[in-house]
Each structure stands twice: as C-alpha cells, then as structure tokens.
Amino acid sequence: MPYLNSRLRSAAARFAAHRALIAAMLLGPVIGAMLAFGAVAAQEENVVTIDNFSFGPGELTVAVGTTVKFVNHDDIPHSVVETKKAFRSKALDTDDAYSYTFASAGTFDYFCGLHPHMVGKIIVK
C-alpha cells in the first residue's frame, strides 16, 4: 500500500502539476492582470484619483464606515459633488484632496461641479 499510495500520490501530483501548467498557459495573462490589479487596489485603497478630467476608478465599492479620499492630479481645479447633496467638496486645486466617510450603505453618484460631464459612483455595502 505504501508503494501504491506513493504511486497514486505521484500520479496525482503529476496530474495536478500538468493541470496547473495548462491552467497557467491558458490563464496566465488573466492571472497576471488580476495580480497586477490586486497590487494597484492594495496600493490605492479607497482613493479616487482625478486625471485627465475623469474619476478613477469610476466605480468603487467600499464597506460602511470607510473613508474615501479624492485627489486631483489635473492642472485644473475640480470638485466632488454628490448628486443628492450627501457631500460636496470645495474646489480642489492641483494635488488637493477631499475625504468623506461613508457612514451608511447605499449608492452615491457624484460629479464634478465645474465639469459635470465627469461622473463617478461609490457603492457602500
């Protein structure tokens, strides 16, 4: 039995390795992208940046009680205004930031009060 077990384990291991290899071949780019995304997400946690007249990420999901920071990287001031007036930042000049703590669950649609075609969304769960 030890021998058989060993053979079986070995076969199973070979199969597993083989499967992993195929999976890696097929999913390599996807996994890579996911890993990269995970790294970015960890680095930029709960931060919405403003670059080239757009909010990034355009949609962010956070837990109740989370503070989200909005940072403007443009050479033009922007603001962050919630559609139903839940929050409204003052005008943010270059590299200025505004933080808001989401105390309750819900979907918060916001836009730039100066350039209203810029829109974003925070989903609080």
Binding site: N52, F53, V81, V119
Partner: protein
Amino acid sequence: MAKKGLDDHGQGIGRREVLECMVWAGTGVLWAINGGVPHSVGLIGEAAAAESGGFTFLQMSDSHIGFDKKANPDALGTLREAIAKVKAMPMKPSFIIHTGDITHLSKPEEFDNADKVYGETGVQLHYVPGEHDMIDEGQGKAYLERYGKGSKGAGWYSFDDHGVHFIGLVNVVDLKAGGLGNLGAEQLAWLEADLKGKSNSTPIVVFAHIPLQVLYKEWGWGTEDGTQALALLKRFGSVTILNGHIHQLAQKVEGNMTFHTALSTAFPQPAPGSAPSPGPMVVPADQLRSMLGLSTVTMVQGNKPLAFVDKTLAG
C-alpha cells in the same frame, strides 16, 4: 497684423460653405455680416470698418489670473501683454466684453490683480462669470459682490449700446450631473421677457462663458438648454453669440446667427478629440503667444456689417 484663418482670395465664400464652416484652428478670422449673409471680407473689411467711424468693442476671455502651471507660469504677465495691445490700438474700443474665467480659483487677490490690469485700459468692462469665478466659499458670492451690480439671478443682465442690444448670460452655475453648461428656467424666462418688444431688426449680441451650442459633448463643451435660448433669438435679423471656455477660435454661421469663441490670454487647450481630455495644453514657449489673444468686433451703422478680427499676442 491679424492673419486670416480662412482666405477666400476675394472669391467670396458661398452660403453653403459658410454654413459648413467650422474653424477650429488658425490665428485669426475676419467675418462680416451684410444683409444677413455672412461673408469673409478680409483686411479690406477691417479697413472699411475703421474708416466708417463704426463702433468697436473687444472680446477678451479666460484670463485665469492665478494660473501658474507648466502651460503658462505667468498668466498675469500674458494678460498684461494683451492689455498693452489694447492700449496701443489706434481706435479706442467702446468697451470690453469679458466672457468669463477672469480668475483661476476665485481668490480675492486674483480678482484684485485682474481688476488692476483691466482697469489700465480706461474702458468699461462687461463681465459674465466662468466656472472658475464661482468657486469661492460662497459659490459665486465673491464674483457677484464685485461684478454683479444691477444683474439678476447668478449675474445675467442686458444693456444697449449704439443701437445694439447686448445680453450677458450665465451658464456655469447649478450644473447637473452628466450634463453640460446650464442656463436654467429662471434665466430663460428672464431672457424671453427681456427680448419682448424688441424689433426683429435690433442687432443682438449674446455673450456667455460656455458655448451656447454644443461644440463637443464628450468634453462638456456646450450648454444643455442652449437651444432654448437660441430659439428665442431666432426671429432677429442679426444675432452674434460670443463665448469663451474652450481657449481656441471656433466660428460657425447658421442663418442669421454667428457663433464666435475667443482665445484665452492664459493658456491654450487642445482641439476637440485631439487629446485624452481638455485642460491646459503645454506648447513650446516660442509658440505660446501665437495661441493666446483677443478679438475686436466692429459694427458699422447703416448697412449693418459686423466684423471680427482675432489677434494673437504674437502678432
């Protein structure tokens, strides 16, 4: 001397070509309107306008006092250069229309600096606010306290000069998510009442910060309810719409309406769709002044031509 962005070599531009014409780039364009049919008149028209003793005013825009980023570290300096050109004009303009974004951040010292430099011209200024003039703590209180005397609502008003009816509109407040510039129902009702009783032959000049027509929706370059304002103006024989905001020349003629956007004195912006987004465009230092400037608008009494000359700071 101003260069022409369009040159018809004296051939005359047909009405169809005029209607299709939208000039996005170029250092200068000169137009005249005669009997409701616009045509390019070139420098001859400019000379005729000057000789006729007609009435001239300037359009200046987007001075962004306080802006100090890479696209122009000294916006106050380039405004001073523009004002030096105004002071050197052989024919003193009757007044200056400023189509908004006087300041970059609505700070008191920015308004102070702008007032000081514009004041050197010795001519009256008629302002409308840009979105950059309404971002003080009071969301426009600072602008209205300074320039809003005699205006209604967020700062709109009208006045008459040399038989022309001038209307200053505000389309930079109470903006809606996902939308464009906004006039609002209250202002549109006021405009309708303001135009009531005016004869169709009264020349009309409307000025506002954001273009009233939609020039490029993706960048928010237009006014959501602008078509409602244009509908109220449709019956008039001569309507000129002056806007700023996009920091580049754009000309369009539709029937009796002429649309004109002015250069900024602070920094250029990219042509629509030519960059990932609007915003201050960095150009080589020796090219900056060819992309900044001001516009002279001349109206001649009698045969009612109206001519634009857009001059850059380089010329």
